[in-house]
């Protein structure tokens, strides 16, 4: 009987100790990186239509808008975090952003100081480029937003959503954790996410023949086709249903989770795949 009470008492003490330790830990975290310093850098450089703009950041979103311009205008927002405000400011001040041209390519580069423990720097880009520009955008933690671009677009993030509107050419967008949302697309597209839904809506002016691949592991897919779409279709879900408003011509075994056939004369390709989620084609 006594042993039983002793066990209960010991467990209670252990719980209190854990709660106390957790409280300290949280406090340590907030104490260590509580100071933040932010500054912006505005840059511009000539960028002729048809060139390539590349930008890569580890922490921070990237936004690129196409405009009727002959140059690239970039605003980088540098946010540094450190134990003290002075340290944060020093980090931010020492971070340099440049636009480096190389042939028909312009690259936004980040030169940042070495960071100690509990220090961090995030750099976000907000860029205007000529409408006809190829894009190569990479971030690890942050969203990617692209608008009004005609060209080859290749954008990747690990944690964050990818949004593109009014894009044409070849669009390749990928995220690991986040949604992919494309509107007013025209041309070929490869859209992929691991955890998140994908929404792809073609513009009414888009040509009817295109190669489209949309893959997600956990999330639904909604696809709005260009008028008169002509494509071989494969729509596949492991856990979910397939619904099509587009008339698909099917042959072979009919499955609840897979549809394979043709839309129109089947000139292009439409591949829609998810593991957990439903697929809808309109």
């Amino acid at each position: 009987m006594k042993t039983h009470h002793l066990t209960k008492f010991s467990l209670g003490c252990l719980l209190c100790l854990l709660t106390f330790a957790a409280g300290c830990f949280v406090n340590i975290g907030s104490c260590a990186m509580q100071a933040k310093y932010e500054r912006t850098v505005d840059l511009s450089a000539p960028l002729s239509p048809g060139s390539t703009f590349a930008a890569q950041t580890h922490n921070g979103p990237i936004t690129v808008n196409g405009a009727e311009a002959g140059e690239c205008r970039l605003r980088a927002t540098i946010a540094a975090r450190a134990a003290t405000e002075e340290d944060a400011q020093e980090l931010a001040e020492k971070t340099e952003i440049t636009l480096e041209p190389s042939g028909d390519r312009l690259t936004a580069k980040i030169d940042q100081p070495k960071m100690k423990m509990n220090q961090s720097i995030s750099v976000s880009f907000d860029v205007d480029v000529p409408n006809k520009t190829d894009l190569e955008l990479v971030t690890h933690n942050g969203a990617v937003v692209i608008a009004d671009i005609t060209g080859r677009i290749n954008a990747t993030t690990h944690n964050g959503k990818v949004t593109a509107g009014n894009v044409s050419g070849t669009t390749v967008l990928e995220t690991y954790n986040g949604t992919v949302d494309c509107t007013q697309i025209s041309g070929d597209a490869q859209l992929k996410t691991h955890n998140g839904s994908v929404q792809a809506s073609y513009s009414q002016a888009a040509p009817p023949v295109c190669d489209v691949s949309i893959v997600t592991y956990n999330g639904g897919i909604e696809f709005v086709a260009p008028p008169g779409l002509s494509a071989r279709v494969e729509a596949d879900t492991h856990n979910g249903s397939v619904h099509t408003d587009l008339p698909v011509t099917v042959v072979g075994e009919i499955s609840k989770s897979r549809i394979e056939g043709t839309i129109g004369t089947g000139q292009g390709k439409l591949h829609l795949e998810t593991y957990n989620g439903s697929i809808r084609m309109r």
């Binding site: 249903s241 397939v242 099509t244 011509t249 099917v250 075994e253 009919i254 609840k256």
Partner: protein, 393 residues
């Protein structure tokens, strides 16, 4: 006490043996038999009616290129003694009586007591153009080479009819019926217990049996109704208006059919059709498989309460066919006409759907239902099973 039992048992045995002995003796009482043959002859104008009836005995009527009616009556008297049997037979008088255009073969018989009998069998030759009506209570009837209408009725005996130019009405309670080459009108056959075989029949036909098979070959023109309460129905090489075949227990087998409509139904048995053509074809069974090969129809229905459906349309089938294939428990295999175009509705509650024809569909895609169109046309396909797979070939 034991002795009493043995005594009672022995007495019962003796009684049984005595009764059995009496029974055997009863059978032997009418053992004497006397046969005599009577012939009668009278002119019978073409187009006349001949009536021949007998209670006990067979009737055979043959048509020939003659102008008289020739009757050979075989009279058999049966009695306990030969003298009595002879007396019975001798007292029978056979006459041919003519009233108007009807000649009747009459038998004037003495009344018979218990264990005495008289049987009269007729073998008759008439002009081909004679109408014949004959009946027997116990005996077979055979009619041949007659261009007029014939009717035959027997309570117990087979009926065989061959080369009849008019209609035929044949009825037996216990016995088979065989018909061959009947070309002039309606054929009606009824038997309560016996098979029916009909071959080379021209004109409408209604054949029915309660227990026995119905086998028909070479039918042309007119509607056909075939019915068996318990037996297989076979129909081959037939052209007709409407064909309605029904069996309660047994299969229906049909081959080389051509008509306006085909309706085949079995309450319990398979239906197998090869090379059939009609505006409407309806095949249904409550328990059994439906198999059709090379079927041509504008409207096609195949149903089974419990059985597979396997239907292949011919190349000549119209591309806008309306086909309904429905089974509760069984798979469906259907090959529509090569150029089929129209609406398609395939559904199964438990099973898979497979199509070799490209179906354009929209809406929810499910493994249990596929609704869409093949090409552009007015055809309609409904393939539906509660438990089984569907294969559209």
């Amino acid at each position: 006490m034991k002795n009493n039992h043995w005594t009672a048992l022995a007495a019962a045995l003796c009684l049984l043996l005595m009764v059995a002995g009496c029974d055997i003796q009863i059978g032997d009482w009418a053992q004497a038999k006397y046969d005599r043959t009577v012939e009668r002859k009278a002119p019978l104008p073409a187009g006349s009616m001949l009536v021949a009836k007998t209670s006990l005995g067979s009737i055979t009527v043959s048509g020939a290129d003659v102008t008289d009616c020739n009757v050979v009556a075989e009279i058999t008297g049966r009695a306990p003694t030969e003298e009595e049997a002879q007396e019975l037979a001798e007292k029978v008088e056979i006459t041919l009586e003519t009233v108007g255009s009807t000649m009747t073969v009459k038998a004037d018989k003495p009344s018979t007591r218990h264990n005495r009998s008289i049987s009269i069998s007729y073998t008759i030759t008439v002009p081909k153009q004679t109408h014949v009506e004959c009946a027997s209570s116990y005996g077979a009837i055979a009619l041949s080479d007659i261009s007029g209408n014939v009717s035959a009725k027997t309570s117990s005996g087979s009926i065989a009819v061959e080369n009849i130019g008019g209609s035929a009405d044949l009825d037996t309670s216990y016995g088979s019926v065989k018909c061959r080459s009947i070309s002039g009108g309606n054929l009606v056959v009824r038997t309560s217990s016996g098979s029916i075989t009909a071959e080379t029949i021209k004109g409408p036909a209604q054949l029915s049996t309660s227990y026995g098979s119905v086998t028909c070959n070479g039918f042309s023109s007119g509607d056909i109704t075939l019915k068996s309460s318990s037996g297989t129905v076979r129909l081959t090489n037939a052209s007709f208006g409407d064909c309605d075949a029904h069996t309660s227990y047994g299969a229906i087998e049909a081959e080389e059919l051509k008509g306006d409509s085909i309706k085949l139904h079995s309450d319990s048995g398979g239906i197998h059709v090869t090379n059939a053509s009609a505006k409407a074809a309806d095949m249904s069974t409550s328990y059994g498989r439906v198999t059709c090969r090379q079927i041509t129809a504008n409207e096609l229905t195949a149903r089974s309460g419990s059985g597979n459906l396997d239907v292949t349309c011919s190349d000549a089938a119209p591309p806008d066919i309306t086909a309904n294939l429905v089974t509760s428990y069984g798979s469906i295999e259907f090959a529509p006409p090569p150029g089929f175009a129209g609406q398609v509705d395939l559904s199964t509650s438990y099973g898979s759907i497979r199509t070799s024809r490209p179906i354009t569909t929209s809406g929810e895609v499910g493994k249990k239902k596929l609704k869409g169109t093949i090409g552009e046309g007015n055809g309609k396909l409904l393939l539906q099973t509660s438990s089984g797979s569907i294969n559209l070939k």
